[in-house]
Subunit: 139 residues, 3 copies
């Protein structure tokens, strides 16, 4: 069986983030799926989804790492063409990617105790972002 849901939430510019584990976990429970896959996507080309220990230190460290990968203040060909100043956002999003898929076993998302699903707004302005989740599997 398959269950889909779309979540919408506001995230701050430049690494505004949200722990989406509770929302996805609730959807898994609602689906009644015992074994399957949760496929999660933050729609758009300036965001990202990954997993991390959702605590301020690790989040700050990841922010620093993506700032090194694609510094906000560097020169980007995208900016020279479109003048929207978010060239760094596109690069960060393409490197980190906008989705993950997580196994479901015995009705539980297979994440560690200190491992959360995080949605990140990499854009240079506040954004209302859409997270789409599809649960596929057997009840």
């Amino acid at each position: 069986m398959t269950l889909t849901k779309r979540f919408s939430f506001d995230l701050d510019a430049e690494f505004g983030h949200k722990d989406v584990t509770p929302a996805v976990g609730t959807l898994v429970q609602e689906s009644g799926v015992r074994n399957g896959i949760a496929c999660i996507q933050l729609v758009g080309s300036t965001g990202a989804v990954t997993t991390i220990e959702y605590e301020p230190g690790a989040l700050a460290d990841l922010h620093s790492a993506v700032e090194q990968l694609a510094p906000a203040g560097a020169r980007y060909a995208h900016n020279e063409r479109w003048h929207d100043g978010n060239g760094f956002s596109h690069v960060r999003s393409a490197l980190l990617k906008t989705g993950v898929s997580v196994p479901i076993v015995d009705g539980e998302l297979q994440l560690g105790t200190w491992q959360q699903l995080i949605a990140i707004n990499m854009d240079n302005r506040d954004r209302t972002r859409e997270l789409v989740v599809v649960i596929v599997g057997d009840r």
Copy 2:
């Protein structure tokens, strides 16, 4: 239900790329799947699949970013063993990964308006690359 398809296309050496969104979107339509997952893989260890706004600026910026992550001219242990000169290709591919999975809702791939699926040849020579797509879900 499940539908699979294999696409084959030529890509230039060192970041030859192709927007594969139309091909994958057509396959989703052919499958008749309303809700499910499209699992996409560029076969091999010197390519990558990700999403990005498919415009020359963002593509050039991503190319620069992966050149920084694993410079083509640096020293690689892989090259010293195998003398094929594509050590940088393997590192870029392992970091960026060779596949993505995208949710399908109401028969549509859940991508943003300016978000395309891109296949990249990271190898140091022109390659005919194979993209495999599996659609899983409910009609």
Copy 3:
């Protein structure tokens, strides 16, 4: 149909790795799935799963690349809060991610000849790690 399996194995600190392709391939055969998806996750926030040519040179090069992305000896906000010294592990894991999904076509994982599935322990101590695999598809 859906088949799940949990594998457990010991990995050395700081980039201990294992080629998990044989284990996942055997599970695909056991499942009898002809066309579908294998969703693979190394549970926890200090590990990673990706694909690479599983040979010592490429592995050493990937290790060097993640050391550049998040040097073990750098200053991390996570370490200052938790004093466990594995801030670099969390960053590397969040960037590389803890899972991949691979298409299955005609009963075969769609990987290249020189492309293997690799589980990596990014933590700063030896760990017994759990790999969860879900096979979803049609027989």
